[in-house]
Symmetry: C2
């Protein structure tokens, strides 16, 4: 297992972590500058942040600073209530691949979607098996395009509490079953993003990380699970403040061959989004060294 | 699959559903009377409610009204930070078995516990594997006593969002692995309580219900998953108000041999606990007939 205690060479910042400090949207270029200033070598930006700043500008900025993208957030949201919705997702996902390529991202992260309409509180049906089938079809379709463009797709299994509205792939086992079905020869075109927040509870986690292996482990995300957790979406903890044994899980992914960045992704409306960007980044660096 | 549309013979009310209307704790005897008045044939009370009313009085009341207990809530909470804590849980669980016997409950439901201290926001460690091992030992120990007293133990896998603070058994598969290890001959002394709220998201649910079979399916709980869900504990929905395909899951448990009560268990601080007990019970009856 790599020693993270002396430096932060393998720290990446998911830019949602500092996206709206005290309610004010932080421009992505400013976030990139703040990371570069601290010797943070990688980020994972969100599409809306990139769009707001301009793809060309962001591309040029990360090149100037020599900043890598540990991933690009995000493609997915495959299920839809009708053919038009499926087609819109299809097209939008291709654009996401294009952008990821332009930014030279290590992978495009897929948050696959759940029941159509559920995110707006109005699910059009309750058939999660149907959504899962649409997800599989959507990934199969996108995979062709991603392969042509040499952009790896990373399925992110989300915590089961997001099954209805955000992602109906909820365990590593389920994600890897899809990978095995669509990429049986383990070409590294399709794999998983392991976010400790989503998977830490899973009794099969160690075994499934081993099963994933180097070819499927495309990204590793960290934050922490707080007790109590006061909001299903935006109450993630800073590493070390919760109950997840992060070094143990990092040990498992590294033993399986993962050697990439440890990406911090914290949505925290009541705590970390209420602080200065500088303080949050400095804390990420400190915790990366001490508790990841 | 049984037809529930014409009557509510197979409806049970978990008494937490009407436990504190508008902030006022409802006495269990009043809840029992309200159920009896409506021809509700079964309840599942909580230990603190029984203790407040007096075990003897509750026992006599349910006998008088011919009300069955579809389960008794609850035993469990096995993990502890030290030997004294383990011993206290051991003793308390035996008392829970005794009470369940006195009330002639169909089973004692086990909410197995998570990381010691996590429920109070101060986990004493992060080793969930250790907690799982303590849970297994605790159930093994209690099972001897429960067998002697002919009280079936129903492990309730809780939703993964409760893994830290309430129960580190989080899937049917995991619960059934424990059952198979401790009761290999499927004597019906040990099984599971299937609560749709906790397991609806699981891609392996249908297969695991089939695996459980008649001998392991000891209880079936219903409510609904709301989108959005605003609180991790107390924002459960009334059947029909959320995204769970309850009839599909009931179909699976009945196909596997379950023929018991459908027990309504709703914790809802912002909605159902703000209404009169009568309205909640009448709604449970109506929804039992129409959407369960």
């Amino acid at each position: 297992m790599r020693d993270f205690s002396q430096d932060h060479l393998w720290l990446s910042i998911n830019t949602a972590t500092v996206r709206k400090q005290r309610g004010v949207e932080q421009p992505l270029p400013a976030i990139i500058e703040a990371c570069a200033k601290r010797g943070i070598r990688a980020i994972s930006p969100w599409r809306d942040q990139v769009a707001a700043a301009g793809l060309g500008r962001v591309s040029s900025l990360v090149k100037t600073h020599g900043i890598a993208l540990s991933g690009y957030c995000r493609g997915g949201m495959f299920p839809a209530a009708d053919a038009a919705g499926i087609k819109a997702a299809h097209e939008d996902n291709r654009r996401a691949v294009d952008e990821a390529c332009e930014l030279n991202a290590a992978c495009l992260v897929l948050v696959v979607g759940g029941l159509p309409g559920a995110l707006a509180g109005k699910a059009t049906h309750k058939d999660i098996a149907l959504s899962r089938s649409q997800v599989r079809d959507g990934i199969a379709d996108l995979l062709d395009y991603a392969r042509q463009n040499k952009m790896p797709l990373a399925i992110e299994p989300l915590h089961p509490m997001y099954a209805a509205d955000r992602a109906c792939i909820n365990t590593m086992e389920q994600a890897l079953d899809v990978c095995d079905a669509l990429d049986p020869s383990r070409t590294r075109a399709l794999g998983v993003a392991v976010d400790v927040y989503h998977v830490w509870w899973d009794p099969k986690l160690e075994a499934q990380i081993k099963r994933a292996g180097k070819e499927r482990l495309l990204a590793f995300h960290v934050c922490d699970w707080l007790t109590p957790t006061t909001d299903l979406l935006n109450d993630r903890g800073m590493m070390g403040d919760g109950v997840i044994d992060i070094p143990k899980i990092r040990g498992w992914v590294e033993a399986a061959g993962f050697a990439g960045y440890s990406e911090v992704e914290i949505f925290s409306s009541v705590n970390w989004w209420q602080r200065d960007c500088a303080e949050v980044l400095d804390t990420c660096i400190a915790r990366h060294k001490s508790v990841v």
